[in-house]
């Protein structure tokens, strides 16, 4: 239960970071935090009476692969944006031309 509760806290914190932080790197880290939170809930709730259930562990492994791929894509896009605009944050919404 402790794992699951920690996971929920991490998830909430990560989502808050995603919304509140404007620096892109911080947003990407926030994504990793809430992703880990969800994995922790999956593994934490998977143990019943001391018995460890292998299925959620397999799922978390898959989930980690997905989240590594997503992080890599986000980092690549953020770097491209840095090269194009010189800033690690979203450009201001300009007038639509």
């Amino acid at each position: 239960m402790l794992f699951a509760l920690t996971g929920i806290v991490l998830f909430a914190g990560g989502i808050a970071g995603m919304i509140l932080q404007s620096h892109l790197l911080r947003k990407i880290m926030a994504f990793n935090i809430f992703g880990s939170g969800a994995f922790l809930v999956l593994v934490g709730l998977g143990q019943r009476d001391g018995q460890i259930d292998p299925v959620p562990q397999a799922m978390v492994l898959t989930g980690i692969v997905v989240s590594v791929a997503a992080t890599a894509l986000a980092l690549a896009l953020a770097r491209r944006l840095l090269n194009l605009t010189g800033e690690m944050r979203f450009p201001r919404e300009g007038p639509d031309d």
Binding site: F34, L42, G63, A70
Partner: protein, 480 residues
């Protein structure tokens, strides 16, 4: 023995990899052949499902829970058919488009292949965790496509879209974790009998998280902020794929979860709230569409509005009489199909206008009627479907939804739908009014290859013709 379920996923993966190695020119040809084969497979599944037998496949011979089970029923057969039927004309269109306008071609075919593979896998998945994985794959491929012409604007739109879709699928994953923690399984068919009225709070929390996450990914108002820049800023073939198909993937998933799993625990107020958000989306999206100076942004906001109709399904199908719920499901499926075809046609036509005149300012469309008559016809026909005029697929969709609203005694949704139709007419006629002006307002009109205009026209025609063959489609849907 060929199993169409497995090959619908393997085939696009294969041609995506080959297209990556061969480069865009030869890769595009292989992609077209692959999509044509996929369409045959999807038709095969649909006829089999309509004949009354749902189809299953255990990938690699591994059974659940460790293996992955694929399952095709009526709803998935329709979505598979829609995805391949939209992708084939778009593949023809995309080849002509990128020959003329090569920015963004380098990764188009591999990413489109991964996108189709991920979507087909999503429509065929039968457990909530595998659905999460496919949902992420769809999102990642779509983000790559948005960024494919790598200008600062499209990269920013792609990154915004990526963050939105990651938050959405993160919420969905937490829901999956809570469901697994409560019931010890992720298979939809095993979960369905376990989830009952008196569910623990964890189930309610899971349901809320999953539905909210998917609404964010489907861009339901007020979560639509990421959609217009992503769909309006991408190259036209990409906009068409995203607006016609990708948002339908997450919508399909909400419907599947709601019908198969969450309905018993869902309070009626939640369904009414979703319906109200849908109504707000119709009004807000249409009003914003009317105010857009650029054609592609107008079409993107029209997608925001049309998504609203899809979500009217929830109040009509939750705790209502069985026949009201059935017409609501039929209406939502028809709306998904006809909007998919019409919106792909519209973005295709917008791409033709851009390539021919070099701009897409609505106010400067004057003269295109005589220069691009087929494209204006395409815009008008797909507008007919969006407005919901007979005999289009959009008409049948709205008819079925209104039928569901009346037979469940919820007349207020009828007002929303009729008002939405009028607002749609306003922005469609805004395009046509400018297009029919005699005075040519563009400096140049370039002649374009025929393979650019005809696929878009075929899609628009299909969105109209689907209304005449609606009974066949609904028979596939109604099969077990």
């Amino acid at each position: 023995m060929i199993d169409p379920l497995a090959w619908l996923i393997l085939l696009p993966l294969t041609w995506a990899a080959i297209a990556f190695l061969l480069g865009p020119t030869r890769g595009g040809r292989i992609a077209q052949a692959g999509i044509a084969l996929q369409l045959v497979l999807a038709l095969w599944i649909a006829t089999e499902v309509a004949g009354g037998s749902s189809r299953q496949h255990a990938a690699g011979g591994w059974r659940a829970p460790l293996g992955i089970e694929l399952l095709a029923d009526g709803l998935s057969a329709i979505m598979l058919l829609l995805a391949q039927a939209v992708a084939l004309p778009l593949a023809l269109y995309a080849r002509a488009y990128f020959t003329d306008h090569p920015a963004g071609i380098r990764h188009f075919w591999p990413l489109a292949g991964f996108l189709l593979a991920a979507m087909n896998a999503l429509f065929l998945s039968a457990d909530v965790f595998n659905l999460y994985v496919t949902l992420e794959l769809v999102g990642l491929a779509a983000v790559g496509l948005v960024a494919s012409d790598s200008t600062a604007k499209s990269v920013a739109a792609a990154l915004r879209y990526l963050f939105a879709t990651l938050v959405g699928s993160g919420a969905y994953l937490l829901g999956v974790a809570l469901l697994y923690g409560t019931y010890g399984t992720v298979s939809l068919s095993e979960l369905a009998p376990l989830v009952e009225d008196a569910a623990p709070y964890a189930t309610l929390l899971a349901a809320g998280l999953m539905v909210a996450g998917l609404m964010l990914k489907t861009a339901l108002f007020p979560f639509h902020f990421w959609l217009p820049p992503a769909h309006g800023g991408a190259p036209s073939p990409v906009s068409a794929l995203l607006s016609a198909l990708v948002i339908k993937a997450s919508f399909y998933l909400v419907v599947r979860l709601w019908l198969g799993l969450l309905m018993p625990v869902a309070p009626p107020a939640a369904a009414q709230l979703v319906g109200m958000l849908g109504t707000a989306a119709i009004v807000w999206g249409s009003v914003m569409a009317l105010r857009q100076p650029r054609l592609k942004m107008l079409i993107a906001y029209s997608t925001v509005a049309q998504i609203g109709y899809l979500f009217l399904f929830f109040p009509l199908a939750t705790h209502t009489a069985p026949d009201a719920a059935q017409s609501a499901l039929q209406g939502a499926a028809m709306q998904a199909v006809s909007h998919g075809l019409a919106k792909a046609a519209m973005f295709g036509a917008a791409g033709v206008v851009i390539l021919s005149t070099g701009h897409d300012q609505v106010a400067r469309l004057g003269g295109i009627t005589s220069r691009l008559p087929l494209t204006v016809f395409t815009l008008a026909l797909s507008g007919v479907t969006l407005m919901g005029l007979p005999p289009s697929g959009g008409f049948i969709a709205k008819w079925l939804l209104i039928d569901g609203a009346i037979s469940s005694g919820q007349w207020w949704w009828v007002i929303a739908m009729i008002a939405g139709g009028l607002l749609t007419a306003a922005y469609v006629f805004k395009i046509l009014r400018h297009a029919f002006l005699e005075k040519e307002q563009s400096a140049t009109f370039r002649r374009l290859p025929r393979m650019l205009e005809w696929p878009a026209f075929a899609l628009a025609l299909a969105s109209l013709a689907i209304g005449l063959r609606a009974s066949d489609l609904l028979r596939v849907l109604g099969a077990p």
